[in-house]
């Protein structure tokens, strides 16, 4: 790659993009309560402090339950919609699909408030299940986008060939469709898991007295003394997200390879 102004700009851009995240581990291992330069020395005490915070463990458990349920539900709903959108034409298709994809652009605050108000008006208590419902709503569009990619990469005549050779529609789905979209399904599960794990607004509005990890973190931000611990927790969360993403990307690429296609870009 030649060193043109454009290359320099792009590299600087990438650097700035990552700058805040790079600071996370720096201060998570810094032996000082103030988040400022110069660094004070190496310590793992902030990570150790995470271990003896029971409230944090409960929040982590909540988050995991929510993220796992969300990723499963959103991927199932995404499978239905992505399959319908790629395989069939039906009246008002653009409108129907557009409406389902709406949470992608709608401010999360609007989604959160409208869900909260409905719950309040119905006199229901919000909690883990309502967060799962909200997260499923906002994750489904992502699942659809990923799965639509998998479905449309698949030559439609592959399924016709299987039916032509004597398989029923269901066994065709099992023998041909499912193996070819499995990488997409796994990528969708991982991405939805990541989104749900990191999502704050909906969880914040709907969590009641069962905070998720980000809601717990939000509560800690008020206490300056807790900041290094927050940095440690943030480090773990970011590393977890990156790992999940790399995994998802690996599966996406494997899916492309399996379908015998060339890689043309990333998610979405």
């Amino acid at each position: 790659m030649r060193l043109t102004p454009l290359t320099v700009f792009a590299s600087l851009y990438l650097l700035v993009l990552y700058a805040p995240i790079v600071l996370l581990p720096l201060f998570a291992f810094n032996d000082g309560t103030v988040i400022a330069f110069p660094l004070q020395g190496f310590t793992t005490q902030w990570f150790a402090a995470l271990l003896d915070t029971p409230a944090l463990h409960q929040a982590t458990l909540n988050s995991l339950v929510i993220a796992v349920s969300t990723s499963v539900f959103a991927t199932i709903l995404g499978l239905f919609a992505a399959r319908a959108a790629t395989r069939y034409s039906f009246p008002a298709k653009a409108g129907v699909v557009g409406f389902i994809m709406l949470p992608l652009v709608l401010p999360e605050v609007i989604v959160a408030i409208s869900l909260l108000i409905v719950l309040m008006q119905l006199g229901l208590d919000s909690g883990t299940w309502s967060i799962i419902a909200g997260h499923t709503l906002i994750c489904t569009p992502f699942a659809i986008a990923i799965l639509q990619g998998s479905f449309s990469n698949m030559d439609r005549s592959l399924e016709e060939a299987a039916v032509d050779l004597g398989e029923t529609p269901w066994s065709t789905f099992r023998l041909i469709t499912l193996p070819l979209v499995t990488p997409g399904i796994i990528a969708s599960l991982l991405i939805c898991f990541t989104i749900s794990l990191d999502e704050f607004i909906i969880a914040f509005f709907l969590s009641g007295n069962e905070p998720t990890l980000p809601v717990y973190l939000w509560g800690q931000l008020r206490f300056p003394a807790r900041l290094p611990v927050v940095m440690a927790l943030g480090t773990i969360l970011v590393i977890l997200s990156v790992l999940l993403l790399v995994l998802a990307e690996t599966f996406r690429r494997r899916g492309l390879k399996r379908a015998g296609l060339k890689d043309t870009g990333g998610f979405l």
Partner: protein
């Protein structure tokens, strides 16, 4: 042309009967009442420009499209409501549809999953099918590591392993380059003769259809314009449109004269050529007195060299307007005196025979027996 000569029993029995088959896509009328009989064991082609409904018809026979009206009978049985997996047809798809996550052998043996054969029998059947298409050693190969021609052979083996009553081929050669296409044309003909199964080929390539088929249905806009064997189709096209679509044809304005000699003969005056007489068989649209058009193939016009003269004095004079040299052949566009547009003439290049120059004056011989009159 006709290459399946073995008269198997029931050869005249139609394997497929189409009766007034209709297909609508919403408002769009894709098939406008198709009726035809496809005979047991023949190589049948559906030929037409893109959008003429040929692929729709093939897919309707396979069961991938529900028809809006009419009847499709396969081996005497009405196919209404019979799903593709229950029909005794198999298909070679345009994209070949080779399952990318399976090996070549798994692809070929795909349709045997539900059969009662033992594993050993299945293995042998797959081996034989692969041998048949010349891919004997390729069984363990991953499907996505195949070339275009190999993919097509796998698709063929996969479809034929179930011994279908009819094999449907959807533009199977269109993805191949010219050389490979010619090789596969010959192989398909051989294969068809070997297995004796009825083949229905969809193609937009008239040359391919002429080379391969026993009979061809030429389709325009959802209708069969003409159904005949290749030779009849070429020599006696029943409409100007078919004539234009199959091979190359020159059209010259003509006038049907009221002073016919009778006895089934028609007298006319052709622009650039002069007076001529045709049989009624050469007038598919009738021969009403007045303006009409004659069609004549390039090879039915002959350049006369010095000293040569035409039989019966049927000669015309003109100027060479274009010379297209093909090696074995030369095409001339010649503007005949009194004709509104040039006619194309094809001449075989022989040793010692000079190629005419652009702008040269020349004489042409013509034969009324090779003409068609369209009104």
């Amino acid at each position: 042309m006709s290459h399946s000569q073995t008269a198997t029993q029931g050869k005249t029995q139609p394997i497929i009967t189409l009766e007034g088959v209709q297909k609508y896509y919403g408002e769009y009328h894709a098939l406008r009442g198709i009726s035809a009989e496809i005979r047991q064991g023949e190589f049948f082609s559906l030929l037409g420009p893109s959008g003429c409904g040929k692929t729709t018809l093939l897919r309707a026979i396979a069961g991938f499209e529900d028809i809006s009206g009419g009847v499709i009978r396969l081996d005497g049985r009405d196919m209404e409501g019979v799903p593709p997996n229950k029909r005794p047809t198999n298909m070679v798809f345009q994209s070949y549809a080779i399952f990318p996550h399976m090996s070549v052998a798994e692809n070929v043996g795909f349709g045997l999953r539900r059969s009662s054969m033992s594993a050993e029998e299945k293995r042998r059947a797959v081996g034989e099918a692969l041998e048949m298409v010349g891919l004997g050693k390729f069984g363990a190969r991953a499907a996505h590591a195949l070339s275009g021609g190999q993919r097509q052979r796998v698709a063929l083996a996969r479809a034929l392993i179930l011994k279908p009553k009819v094999l449907l081929l959807d533009e199977p050669l269109s993805a191949l380059d010219k050389k490979m296409r010619e090789v596969m044309q010959v192989e398909l003909i051989k294969l068809q003769r070997e297995v004796g199964i009825t083949f229905i080929l969809v193609t937009h390539d008239q040359e391919e259809a002429l080379v391969m088929s026993d009979r061809i249905a030429v389709m325009f806009e959802g209708e069969i314009a003409q159904l005949d064997d290749p030779e009849t189709l070429y020599r006696r096209p029943r409409s100007r449109r078919v004539a234009e679509f199959i091979g190359m044809m020159n059209f010259l304005p003509a006038r049907v004269l009221p002073t016919g000699p009778g006895g089934g003969r028609i007298a006319l005056e052709v622009a650039g050529l002069g007076p001529a007489e045709l049989e009624t068989a050469q007038c598919p649209n009738g021969a009403a007195v007045g303006e009409a058009e004659i069609g004549v193939r390039p090879e039915s016009l002959t350049v006369l060299y010095e000293g040569q003269s035409a039989e019966g004095g049927r000669e015309a004079e003109g100027t060479v307007r274009e010379v297209v040299y093909y090696g074995d052949m030369t095409y001339y566009d010649i503007l005949l005196d009194g004709a509104p547009a040039p006619v194309r003439v094809s001449m075989r290049n022989m040793p010692g025979r000079r190629v005419l120059d652009y702008g040269a004056r020349t004489r042409l011989a013509w034969d009324p027996r090779s003409m068609m009159l369209f009104s």
